[in-house]
Symmetry: C2
Subunit: 309 residues, 2 copies
């Protein structure tokens, strides 16, 4: 029951020889959600052992090259590997034209469907939902249309305490009722209270992605209570003016956002190439928000299932 | 007086985690000529220490993604680094539309001129020429319009033997005459024979790039007599049928091409991902043409100046 985030690239606009542009993988129960797709993404997916086949959904925050120039190679490689299952790309409206132009010149041999779902401005929107997960988009505060993404695991079905199954000779139907959270009322009038017979196997988990953005007050409500967030920290607070004039955040901004929203863990990335060692940014964030970490490329950050008995 | 070729990527269509798609640098007297621009090219230029500023000309052989998907990131990065000098891209006709679409969405801030010079079918064409170098394009034999490139160093000016300068009290004008290859006729009727007084400092050097292509007889005349060629060898001869049906070459094909054209050195690249160790391809080529080498990423292959006294 994995819920794990791995950055493939934590560079900002100017990649370096050992730091690639933005691309990240969120593994939710072995389904891989690709978040942004900077140049080199397909090579990095291979490097860190992520199967292309497990990717059905790609989320592109905005149309700056350092977040999308890897999409062309990835889509082409998926085609050459014989993909035939549909791929959904959530991206701003302008991406339609970019995708059309790409497919016109390079998509002749494609045998799989690519659906572009347009991200909508104006608050939080549910963009993907199934039995196990809900994904929402929300606006960020950047130079162009830019979106964050929040992944909320659904509350799992309740587990029935094994010792009661034999003791009370529970039927399959009764077990199913208890799993949904309801009490069981037997023909003889006995009531089997759900809170005695069943329990949540783990708490539902949540993660949010915030890049690129300058600080803005509404962010708090979009990411409130997440177990973990990724927040850009392009600069240190010595460069606050530059950060804000280019609609980016400092490490302090990221830490303040995490603290305000009451999240448990903050991952920092999207570092300017001027910071050869991003440790200085971590130190800065850590003073405001202790549970801050560098999203080093290839390092998985797991949100472990927490018992909810 | 460098004349040196370095491959940045020797993968074919499917890159691997440690083998990037086609991109190569030819250094001629410290001017860098970029040949093809696969995904990741800008990171690899940095990795191997090539200055973006020294690149004024890019040569794109054809419009398959593994040869051009790095151009978008590279052009964007050049812009962000403040480039203002013109960049010339030699590429097939269809590239105009790709470039326009790219600039429409991502080129708003560009402050430098990008000129697309269209490569022409039908034999060999001089596409760039100055005092020191001539570059020609020639057709290859691939599934789509595809071009090879030949770089011919111009004959250098002759050097005057130092010991004669004092002995004959040569004037600056006389030295200049000898450098051009002409004899000097003095007022007293003495003739200073050029072949005694001057010599070629080194032989003019030449390199040709042949990727992607199936074998074809006319190739010989395009690459005849080169000091060094890069020739694709996507497959081994166990896969000859596949190679030729996809309009590619085997290592044997590459070696035969090198031998027929009387070149001195053959560099192999563009390997299928099925060959984890391309040594088997080198062995195959080496049996036909001894001076065969793998164009390992980042390894410079210098054509040293050869004295022509």
């Amino acid at each position: 029951m994995k819920f794990s985030f791995t950055s493939l690239g934590c560079a900002s606009a100017l990649p370096t020889s050992d730091r690639f542009p933005s691309a990240h993988v969120l593994n939710v129960h072995e389904r891989l959600f690709l978040i942004d797709c900077g140049e080199g993404c397909q090579m990095l997916l291979r490097k860190w052992g992520f199967s292309f086949l497990k990717i059905q959904n790609i989320f592109l925050s905005h149309l700056h090259g350092d977040h999308i120039f890897g999409i062309f190679g990835l889509l082409s490689t998926m085609s050459m590997m014989g993909r035939n299952s549909k791929l959904t790309i959530f991206a701003p409206e302008e991406f339609s034209d970019v995708l059309s132009s790409f497919l016109k010149h390079f998509g002749e041999m494609f045998k799989y469907e690519i659906e572009h779902r347009v991200l909508m401005p104006g608050g939080m929107h549910t963009i993907l939902e199934d039995r196990k997960l809900k994904v929402s988009s929300f606006p960020l505060n950047h130079r162009i249309d830019c979106y964050g993404f929040r992944f909320d695991e659904k509350r799992p079905l309740r587990n029935v305490h094994k010792e009661f199954i034999d003791e009370y000779n529970l039927s399959i139907k009764e077990i199913a009722t208890l799993k949904t959270g309801e009490d069981v009322v037997r023909e003889n009038g006995d009531i089997l209270k759900n809170e005695k017979f069943a329990y949540m196997p783990f708490k539902a988990r949540s993660f949010a992605y915030c890049s690129d953005t300058a600080p803005f007050p509404e962010l708090t409500k979009y990411i409130v209570g997440c177990n973990m967030i990724y927040h850009e920290s392009t600069f240190g607070s010595d460069m606050t003016a530059t950060a804000h004039s280019t609609m980016h955040s400092t490490a302090s901004d990221a830490a303040v956002a995490a603290k305000k929203a009451g999240v448990e863990k903050l991952l920092l990335g999207h570092f300017s190439s001027r910071y050869k060692d991003p440790g200085v940014l971590l130190d800065e964030a850590g003073e405001i928000f202790k549970e801050s970490y560098i999203a080093y490329e290839g390092t998985p950050f797991d949100i472990l299932p927490e018992s909810d008995k």
